[in-house]
Symmetry: C2
Subunit: 156 residues, 2 copies
């Protein structure tokens, strides 16, 4: 399976190394992993892998467009391999679980700001906040209180 990644790395001008193959493999298994999870999981394939190596690999992958970095407010950065397919994220306020969502109804047009205020916009990033199925079932669980629940983007 690892051989799958090598051509992709070469295609974007990156050398094929064990740390990179390990990280890519972990990302394939864990679609929204944070750096720490990646380090721990990748060590199954490459036991001596250092955290800094992972940061370096992730930075390279993100810079070349092989991975995407997402940073939900208040949580460590997450990384995913799905790039360029115009999808967004659902984030659980309680457990931090992240799920992918394809672009909202009507696709792109609804993501054009009404007034761009002179900005040259190249991307619209959408995060849906809520509770995942599991956390809805256990209502007395910890819920983040550092952010007011009804923020600007509240629906209806």
């Amino acid at each position: 399976m690892e051989t799958t990644w090598a051509p992709l790395l070469r295609a974007v001008g990156l050398r094929v190394t064990r740390p990179r193959l390990s990280v890519l493999s972990v990302l394939a298994d864990h679609p929204h992993a944070d750096a720490d999870t990646i380090v721990l999981s990748a060590r199954a394939l490459h036991p001596t892998l250092s955290p800094q190596a992972v940061y370096g690999v992730l930075k390279a992958l993100v810079a070349r467009g092989l991975a995407r970095r997402i940073e939900p407010a208040g949580a460590p950065a997450l990384f995913e391999l799905r790039v360029g397919d115009n999808h967004h994220h659902l984030v659980c306020r309680s457990c931090g679980a992240v799920a992918d969502v394809d672009c909202a109804v009507g696709a792109a047009p609804c993501l054009t700001p009404a007034d761009a205020a002179g900005y040259a916009v190249d991307e619209a990033e959408v995060v849906f906040w809520g509770l995942c199925r599991q956390c809805q079932a256990t209502p007395d669980q910890f819920v983040r209180t550092d952010q007011h629940v009804l923020r600007g983007g509240a629906i209806a």
Copy 2:
């Protein structure tokens, strides 16, 4: 001017203190200030104000819904007083400037995820990334490279 804020604080059950009035005043002047800016500016009104006090005040304001915390990926948190009006943000990739945008065309419906995957969604947060007018004029300026430019939410 400061007397304007006192009733608001009392209305949400917070004591009226000088640090809080100072922070509110600064937020009114700087619509998207980070904690550091707030500390520096607020010291014009309250010279002995400590950073921790500001964090405490901001936490209280956000928890009571008087302020909102926004965290553009890769930048320190910003705070604003506009709450509950369903607006979003334009962020400049180069200088970090933030501008408000009223809800996108068509309002709420377009912010309903096509498939919520069982999540109970209570908010949709939208960030438009691009270059502000000023940074478009000076193209050779520093631009963030830690994130691939064409990410999932890319327009069109």
